[in-house]
């Protein structure tokens, strides 16, 4: 697939004075739709901005992951007419820059690239993905629920970005990850960064690394889960979990969807739409004649956890959890995947 841009240049480093950040963004906004973290009721949401000042780059996590601009919560697949069949396909997407994406979410996008970009590539996803540049931002702040460190997906990022920002106080260290990323920097006054800035970057990341409160032991996960399919914890979770689906709706690697035809009142034309679905919901595994393969909540909870930690590996060659902590933060019942694994591991 074309999505993964290859690195042809060794990561060059430049420095951007913080006060010039808005110039960079302004510059990007001329050519692209810039989507970045914007404050929303005490939290943050990735939104298309109209003014660089809207960006709040010191955010910890966003309500929905930036996945939402690539694999959209609602999407029209095509219009149809009962007599004529499929009527139109979508316009090519406008170029967009995902700005300030954290390492965990970049890793999640890489997983989505695997699920959506290979074997019958999903044209809607791929089209948008090809038109999306990623300006990532290393994490120097750590949230209460973050455990990317354990998953090897943060707080710093090695690849998958076009530009990578690290906040060094009054300056921002910018690492270039692709020719397209380099291109983004045209017309912005930059100074080459002395190599010692890498030491400064490491210092800040090390500070961050020491702040993690949550961890998940990833060694032998598959075996641990296989051995504990009947552990009593599942029954406790069955009683606790609300099956509300929130944990999966906010997950950056969840990709399930449902398809619904929306018919116009003329009963002839309409649109086929897809929208995010969730394995935590009762109807998800229900088939004709009312048979349901995962009627019990514990079966669904297991599906979520096993899928992330045991099944992704054979499917996509990587773990399915990037440690962003969103599912923990969103759960009314404080159900915590790191706790579950710790208990299964006998901790």
């Amino acid at each position: 697939m074309v999505v993964a841009r290859s690195l042809t240049i060794p990561n060059p480093l430049v420095l951007l004075p913080k006060k010039d950040l808005s110039r960079l963004v302004q510059h990007l906004m001329q050519r692209y739709t810039v989507v970045g973290p914007v404050a929303k009721g005490g939290e943050h949401a990735f939104s298309a901005i109209t003014d660089p000042a809207q960006l709040t780059l010191d955010y910890v996590s966003s309500l929905l992951p930036p996945k939402k601009v690539l694999h959209q919560p609602f999407e029209v697949l095509f219009s149809f007419h009962q007599e004529q069949g499929v009527l139109e396909e979508r316009e090519p997407a406008r170029g967009q820059v995902l700005f300030g994406v954290h390492p965990c979410d970049v890793h999640a996008i890489e997983i989505l690239d695997k699920a959506y970009g290979h074997e019958y590539p999903d044209p809607y996803y791929v089209n948008r993905r090809q038109n999306t540049l990623i300006v990532a931002a290393n994490c120097t702040k750590v949230g209460d629920n973050c455990f990317c460190q354990s998953m090897g997906t943060g707080p710093d990022l090695q690849k998958g970005y076009d530009l990578l920002l690290t906040d060094l106080g009054s300056q921002i260290l910018v690492e270039i990850g692709s020719p397209a990323g380099e291109d983004l920097l045209q017309q912005v006054p930059l100074q080459p960064a002395p190599r010692v800035m890498l030491v400064e970057k490491e210092k800040r990341l090390d500070e961050a690394r020491r702040k993690f409160k949550k961890r998940l032991n990833t060694s032998g996960l598959k075996e641990l889960l296989e051995d504990n399919f009947r552990h009593p914890i599942w029954d406790e979770l069955r009683q606790d979990c609300l099956a509300c689906g929130s944990c999966t709706m906010v997950c950056p690697t969840c990709f399930c969807y449902n398809v619904v035809d929306k018919l116009d009142l003329n009963l002839k034309s309409g649109q086929r739409q897809r929208e995010w679905d969730s394995c935590m919901l009762l109807e998800y595994a229900q088939v004709a004649m009312g048979h349901n393969f995962r009627k019990d909540r514990d079966a669904r909870i297991k599906q979520r956890i096993y899928h992330k930690l045991a099944y992704y590996e054979p499917q996509f060659g990587t773990l399915g959890c990037v440690g962003c902590g969103r599912c923990i933060g969103t759960c009314v019942k404080h159900i915590d995947i790191t706790d579950i694994m710790a208990r299964l591991g006998g901790e």
């Binding site: 499929v86 044209p123 897809r274 679905d277 998800y284 004709a288 393969f293």
Partner: protein
């Protein structure tokens, strides 16, 4: 880039009522290019669209060598399948496919074949049977065990005499309602195991039917000495795409739409989430 979600128009060329709630449709693509490019294996399925109502995965029930038309045998149970029941010759539906793994036809060649089907589960197995009939000498002993709820639920009965010329057919029904005469077995399909001649040696088993039926079929066969890699099952799961995207059909690391629907039982038995009474049951 080709859009795997975009159905092509196919016209209904024939409508054959099989039972009170099941119909076989003969279809062909409207567009000549699509028609020519369309190829499938016995056991594969298509996604059938009724625009405005939805899409449903349905097995192809005809023989691949009988192109350029193909058939689907549909039981009318929900929105799409019931709406199909209202269509007639000349009407159009949307079709995309063929998807999924087929039955292991190459593996069957030169071996004995035991087919165990329940209800609508005979539909995806019919192309296997017709392929066998076509080159009967390529296969060893072939037996078909077919169970249905009542005699009225039996599919393809007019074709049975022709089949029986070449293969052995055993039938069973769960119940015989008043007014029906039934000379074959009454009971679940596994009760036919006592009658059949098939033995584990050099035999491949193909089975399709309700999950609960397949569970007992597999269990019984294992105790009779069949090995888990001799038994092939075709699974049903909910599907919204057919191409490994919507996630609905996943069982462990498997996507039923792509890694299946036909699986060797050996592939399933190790899965944590029990399928057909696998180890984790």
């Amino acid at each position: 880039m080709i859009n795997p979600f975009k159905p092509a128009r196919a016209l209904i060329r024939g409508v054959q009522k099989e039972t009170y709630d099941t119909t076989t449709y003969t279809l062909s693509f409207e567009d000549a290019r699509v028609r020519e490019e369309f190829a499938f294996q016995p056991g594969q399925f298509n996604m059938i669209t009724l625009f405005g109502i939805g899409e449903a995965p349905v097995s192809i029930s005809s023989d691949p060598d009988e192109g350029p038309t193909f058939q689907h045998t549909v039981r009318h149970v929900g929105n799409v399948t019931k709406a199909l029941a209202r269509l007639k010759v000349g009407d159009a539906v949307g079709v995309r496919g063929a998807y999924g793994t087929g039955w292991p036809m190459e593996l069957l060649r030169g071996r004995n074949v035991l087919i165990v089907a329940g209800g609508i589960g005979l539909a995806p197995l019919r192309p296997v049977i017709t392929q066998i009939l076509r080159q009967r000498r390529d296969f060893g002993r072939v037996e078909l065990l077919y169970g249905a709820r009542t005699p009225a639920d039996m599919l393809y009965t007019p074709q049975f005499p022709r089949w029986q010329e070449e293969i052995k057919l055993y039938q069973a029904v769960d119940v015989v309602p008043d007014g029906y005469s039934w000379e074959q077995r009454v009971g679940v399909v596994t009760t036919l195991f006592g009658e059949m001649e098939s033995q584990p040696a050099d035999t491949i088993v193909l089975t399709c039917g309700p999950e609960i039926m397949m569970k007992f079929v597999v269990k019984d066969l294992l105790t009779r000495g069949f090995l888990s890699d001799q038994i092939y099952v075709s699974l049903e799961r909910r599907m919204s795409c057919g191409v490994k995207k919507c996630g609905k059909c996943q069982i462990g690391p498997k996507f039923v739409c792509r890694d299946g629907p036909v699986f060797a039982y050996a592939e399933l038995m190790g899965l944590s989430e029990g399928v057909l009474g696998g180890v984790a049951g």
